[in-house]
């Protein structure tokens, strides 16, 4: 053992520095922005999910991702690509089979965990700034041990991203048959960004190849892992961009569906 001389009974004292933190930069900025950003999004998303209207543009088959897949008996039949089996109730969102998983996927996402632990939970608010709590057990016990389920929510989110992609393809539609408008670009961009977030997810990176011990024996999975890792490098960026793109896509579909604006059409 490395013997560094014992100086006192346990625990030996740390340096008695009076100020609890000495950072001179604006370390509060990050947590504040996170709280503001996430709060605004949650308020908007909650309103939209329970609004149960203006989610479908019949002419162009635009379906907002907040209502996909639309499986409530309250759904407009054309918008329900996967059947309508949930009872129609103001308390049950139309996409109640996907939303809980999407929520759980983002809640257990390694980036969002960092974001909300730091901002909402102050544990810690910033590096070298004291934790806002006296006791700390991390993710060792219920309920936070559940964060380990991230991978399984990832599988669900992966399927939902497939459905969103399917929605975006079906939306190349007009009363004349094929159609193409600004809404398609919005839906498409949103789907591409969602894939960037989903494919760069830490769990995806693990599944693609991170779990392997010998990359050299699995060249294709190594390649997939490399791509996933490249996206993963910017996971925080994708996390915020997709929050924005989801809300903007939804808002665009809502605006068109409610007739506040007309979709800019390029073909039909």
């Amino acid at each position: 053992m490395t013997t560094t001389e014992d100086t006192a009974v346990s625990p030996p004292p740390r340096a008695a520095i009076t100020p609890r933190n000495l950072r001179t930069d604006s370390w509060m900025r990050g947590p504040i922005l996170t709280v503001v950003g996430i709060t605004i999004w949650v308020v908007y998303a909650t309103f939209r999910v329970f609004y149960q209207g203006d989610y479908w543009v019949p002419d162009y088959h635009y379906l907002t991702p907040f209502y996909s897949p639309c499986v409530s008996e309250g759904c407009i039949p054309d918008s329900a690509h996967f059947g309508r089996f949930l009872p129609d109730s103001p308390l049950i969102p139309y996409a109640a089979v996907s939303l809980p998983f999407l929520l759980a996927f983002r809640l257990t996402c390694y980036y969002y965990r960092k974001a909300y632990y730091r901002s909402f939970w102050l544990s810690p608010p910033a590096c070298a700034v004291p934790d806002g709590h006296a006791k700390y057990t991390g993710e060792t016990r219920f309920p936070l041990v559940g964060q380990n389920l991230h991978r399984y929510f990832f599988y669900a989110a992966f399927l939902i991203s497939v459905i969103n992609t399917y929605d975006a393809i079906l939306a190349f539609h007009s009363p004349e048959g094929f159609g193409f408008g600004l809404g398609n670009l919005v839906l498409l961009a949103n789907v591409v960004l969602l894939w960037c977030y989903t494919f760069g997810c830490h769990s995806c990176r693990h599944v693609m190849g991170g779990r392997l011990k010998h990359f050299s024996k699995h060249p294709i999975r190594y390649r997939l892992w490399t791509i996933s890792s490249a996206l993963n490098n910017r996971h925080m960026m994708w996390a915020w961009i997709t929050l924005a793109s989801l809300a903007l896509t939804d808002f665009y579909v809502m605006s068109v569906a409610a007739g506040w604006i007309d979709d800019l059409r390029f073909v039909n």
């Binding site: 053992m1 490395t2 013997t3 560094t4 001389e5 100086t7």
Partner: protein
Amino acid sequence: MSESLNDVEHLACDVLIIGAGGAGLRAAVEARLAGKSVIVISKSLFGKAHTVMAEGGAAAAMGNVNSKDSWQVHFRDTMRGGKFLNNYRMAELHAQEAPARIWELETYGALFDRTPDGKISQRNFGGHEYPRLAHVGDRTGLELIRTLQQKLVSLQQDDEAAGEGEEKLQVIDETTVTELFVEGGAVKGAFGYRRNTGRFMAIAAPSIVLATGGIGRSFKVTSNSWEYTGDGHALALRAGASLINMEFIQFHPTGMVWPPSVRGILVTESVRGDGGVLKNSEGKRFMFDYIPEVFKAQYADNPDEGDRWYTDPDTNRRPPELLPRDEVARAINSEVKAGRGSEHGGVYLDIASRRSAEYIRKKLPSMYHQFKELADVDITVEPMEVGPTCHYIMGGIEVDAETTVSKVEGLFAAGEVSGGMHGSNRLGGNSLSDLLVFGKRAGEYAAERASTVEPPKLTDAELTAAAADALRPFENDGENPFELQAAMQAINGRLVGIIRRSGELEEALEELEALRPRIEAVSATGGRAYNPGWHLALDLRNMLLCSIATAKAALERDESRGGHTREDAPGLDPQWRKTNLVAELDGESIALRRQPVPTMTPELLGLFETTELAKYMTPEEYQASSTEEGQEESE
């Protein structure tokens, strides 16, 4: 409090190792594996030793990249690099055993860079005929020290699992040894203090391995850390051992020169090995003008051939940027003196215009990082400014090649603190392999000796005297140790540097002697717990002793060879090639004597062309048909 502070902590072990760098840790592994109880004393924290600074790699003729490589070629390169002043037997053992020492590290968990077929990759380096340096990017020293550190921990875990006590293998960190105890011509223990508390410690041991590294801190511009105060050299001298080749100090050609606070910090030779070239302020690639006669056959005389060598080393000669370090350092020195230096007194090392940014970041990550963070220079875009920096001392404790034992019984030495192996100049990459090869041997033979002798006893009188000695700075009323250190660094840098003259060396000796009473009177203020002023006060006398040995030997040797350049005696002198200078302590002062260099066996001589030997040796040396027995190949 003061009573307990003066209590001396008593420890004992079979093998005491002073120094926790590569050589010390390798010795510890070997001694523990031999079943001995081992204590390792580390001047800084465990795993921080100067070995981490080694960047390029560890030279070993594994032949992974070029299968023509063999220990004979490695031996030949080492002798050439050392200008045939090397202890040939050490160079031979080193070349033969280095591959096994590297492979062993893999079994401890080291992860070297790989070749496409999964073997350890090897890179080119100055003075090595084939790609020979096992490496991990440019942080090979760190890999080595971490691997050995972790091996020590694993041995401790094995002991624990086997129910052995913790005293079987201890690392005592942040502790400095101030004195060795000798009785009847054999060592029997050491005395030191823990930095944290300032409390004293005495360790009785029949075998002591010195692995304390070098003396670079005595120079102003140096790549060495504060620890490099020549402790081992001085302890050995005071214990009665001899130092050899102390005039030979390697100035690494490429240290940072700007900003001033980082002056001296190393820029790895791999920059040149991987394609970097040296240019002067006129943009000229000047090394082609500095190829010495003895190396003309192996180095390209035009840039085109030099550039082709990187991809086709078999039919082209290597670029002169990869000449041995002494040659490159002197060339840079001359360019700067001729007024063709860079803005801050160095020359330009340019890899940006020769390799892609991605390649540079991949191959030289820590250089990229170092320049970016310390000098605000992006080496993928701009050239670096570099100049010579004190890097390594070839000289050191005179040891037996096989057993590493010094003149004093039971006192072994390995790594930079030992002398002879590298002759007058060390090749890059040979120090990491040196410390593995001879570290292992030191551990092995130290353990062997410990089996044959009785555990020694230390007397109270010895301890009291050593303690009084260590505490003297607190009672003194002299100067601040930092000022004295700066004064000594200035003397060495100005007068015993890369280019030397007899008048200046005499001056240096006078000035160093004048420092002696000031250093004896140096004072420390404050308490004993973690007091850097006190620590330095105690280190100063070691630095002084080494500095005087170096200056004396440099004055005596009136020729230029390897890491010793005399402006008033240029060129190699074949007579001097046969002579080593040995320094011993005579009372308070250093006494020098001449001693013949061991003669190479005919088998080894046969590895060289006669025309090459003729450049270094007198005709009777290489023509004489010696009757010595052929060497057995060990391992």
